[in-house]
Subunit: 339 residues, 2 copies
């Protein structure tokens, strides 16, 4: 609560012996107010330390100039960089950004989304949780025609803008690379097949195998939550097979790193005995030994573009531009773990 009583346009008006409407207009450089009055009002506003009450303006105008963002976790580099991109663009347009994290839990996600809805954010940018298999909470936005944009992980039952990376292509490129370097027994540690990104990566993976006539071996396919622990377990299962893989496509860098650690402990040579490729290009991936091959996703650009797109929608709310699905290219970075 402000101790100093707020200075409002009414205070200014009284002080200047004019009406509040005139003050309001003068402050917004409305053409219907004379140059002279405008100057006087603006001068007085500065003098008295006037600060517009955005709440009141928002109530009246039914806009909040605020974007809601929901990500699984803020402290994962990919998401942090997406947010950074969102925030940077939003700022240039005068939008604020409210952040929430779902912790990859459906229920928390639903709560966050509902909360943001109730807070009247002008748009929602979201990457859904690993658990999300229903869309009721998201319909709150789509059905009320409040701009909604998915990035990376999306919900296919909801029509909306999406900014994705080309996961199919990425999966394909990775697998192709492993094949090209001579791997014969290629394994894949996947994330939850429920999420499109993992479905697509797997499809790319399978396509590459098929194309090269490499057989798909069921026991080389693991599905996990892509945590460090689960990754470790899955990789350990693979390596204790009688014919362990000589190339592993890990669903993210976290699992790839845990695989690397496993190899160091068990004196498995990387990439000689087994080649490893991760996904995301975490900050550590370039600097571990051996450095980790991976796929770089342009997080900052995704965020920047997402903010641009959604703010454009907000500002042209009544145009009926069709929804757009943008797929940004990924970059396969070949490092020592698969050289």
């Amino acid at each position: 609560m402000r101790k100093h009583s707020e200075i409002t346009i009414h205070n200014l008006a009284k002080e200047l012996k004019i009406s509040a409407s005139t003050v309001s207009r003068a402050l917004k450089d409305n053409v219907r107010i004379s140059e002279k009055t405008r100057k006087i009002v603006q001068q007085k506003a500065i003098e008295m330390g006037y600060r517009p009450n955005i709440l009141a303006a928002n109530l009246r105008s039914k806009r909040t100039m605020t974007l809601g963002v929901v990500v699984p976790r803020i402290d994962r580099y990919f998401f942090a960089s997406v947010i950074s991109g969102i925030e940077d663009y939003a700022w240039t347009e005068g939008f604020n950004v409210i952040i929430s994290q779902s912790n990859d839990l459906l229920i928390k996600e639903a709560n966050c989304v509902t909360n943001l809805y109730n807070n009247r954010v002008d748009g929602l940018i979201i990457s859904i949780s690993m658990q999300t298999d229903e869309d009721k909470h998201l319909r709150l936005f789509s059905e009320n025609h409040i701009p909604l944009l998915f990035f990376d992980r999306y919900c296919s039952t909801i029509e909306s803008d999406r900014i994705l990376v080309d996961d199919f292509d990425a999966g394909y490129k990775i697998t192709r690379h492993l094949i090209d370097r001579g791997c014969k027994r290629i394994a894949y540690i996947a994330g939850p097949g429920m999420l499109n990104i993992y479905k697509n990566r797997k499809a790319g993976f399978l396509k590459a195998l098929e194309e090269s006539g490499v057989p798909v071996v069921e026991k080389y396919l693991e599905e996990t939550g892509l945590t460090k622990e689960e990754g470790r377990k899955a990789f350990s299962r693979l390596m204790t097979l009688s014919d362990p893989p000589d190339g592993v496509f890990c669903g993210n860098d976290t699992t790839a790193l845990s695989a690397l650690e496993y190899c160091q402990e068990h004196r498995v040579r990387v990439p000689e005995d087994v080649a490893l490729v991760g996904f995301s290009d975490e900050p550590y991936s370039a600097v571990v030994t051996p450095s980790l091959s991976t796929v770089k996703q342009p997080g900052y650009e995704i965020g920047y573009l997402a903010a641009q797109k959604i703010i454009h929608r907000i500002q042209n709310i009544n145009s009926d531009e069709p929804f757009e699905q943008i797929e940004l290219p990924t970059q396969l970075i070949i490092r020592n773990s698969s050289k």
Copy 2:
């Protein structure tokens, strides 16, 4: 803009042929409303899909249930984890969190702070930019008695709560460690001396040297912006001295990493020729080769505590509890770069 016309308490009231006040009270379980009416109203509210307009409530109550957060960069792990902690606690108390980044620029910081002020956030949590050498923008909060809390980097000219890590102790511990392992020529790549955290680390550094009778050599003291490039340059200067240091305390892990890279390229052995210690425990520090000694700062805990503290202040705005400066302990993690 919502397409469906909003459902307000007035709509509900009309529908139920009672007054809006009664509806308002019924929805908030006010004791002055009979059990019967309350049930009816709440039932109808659900039925009609009523969603309270938080803007209106905020305008009236002069609270926004929102915390503002300003950090130099969101995509730095330390800050991301602090934000994660803030968001987690804030959420349990029903607070939203608006994030802005200053990009370590004073002018952007001032803009962000002013914007958050105008948006009537109930409190501000900030870690100031490297450039910040004035406090006018921050006085907006402190002088209007809106809770303000610094973490990590603070502004000493402003009275307020602070959550810090014990930088003096950390600097001392690091230096002590280098001395104990036998380093004779110890260098320090510092951050801007304007910021207290760097001042304090340096004080700890000097204290340790003095205590052990190790002479302070001016040419071993570098001051930089702690970026990768500047760190590289500073380290290179140090290593091309006729008597290069055999132990370097780097202001953060970024510079430590660039030092490591320099060493690899110039065949300088770490830690045999020069021992390195960083600061922050970035995610990569544990996994580079050699793994990087560093100081772990409890980011998540700092954020969580900061949110607790500031929300407590917000909820007890009129109590006159004195400002508190909390210093959390750091943990020296000795890894291979200085073993």
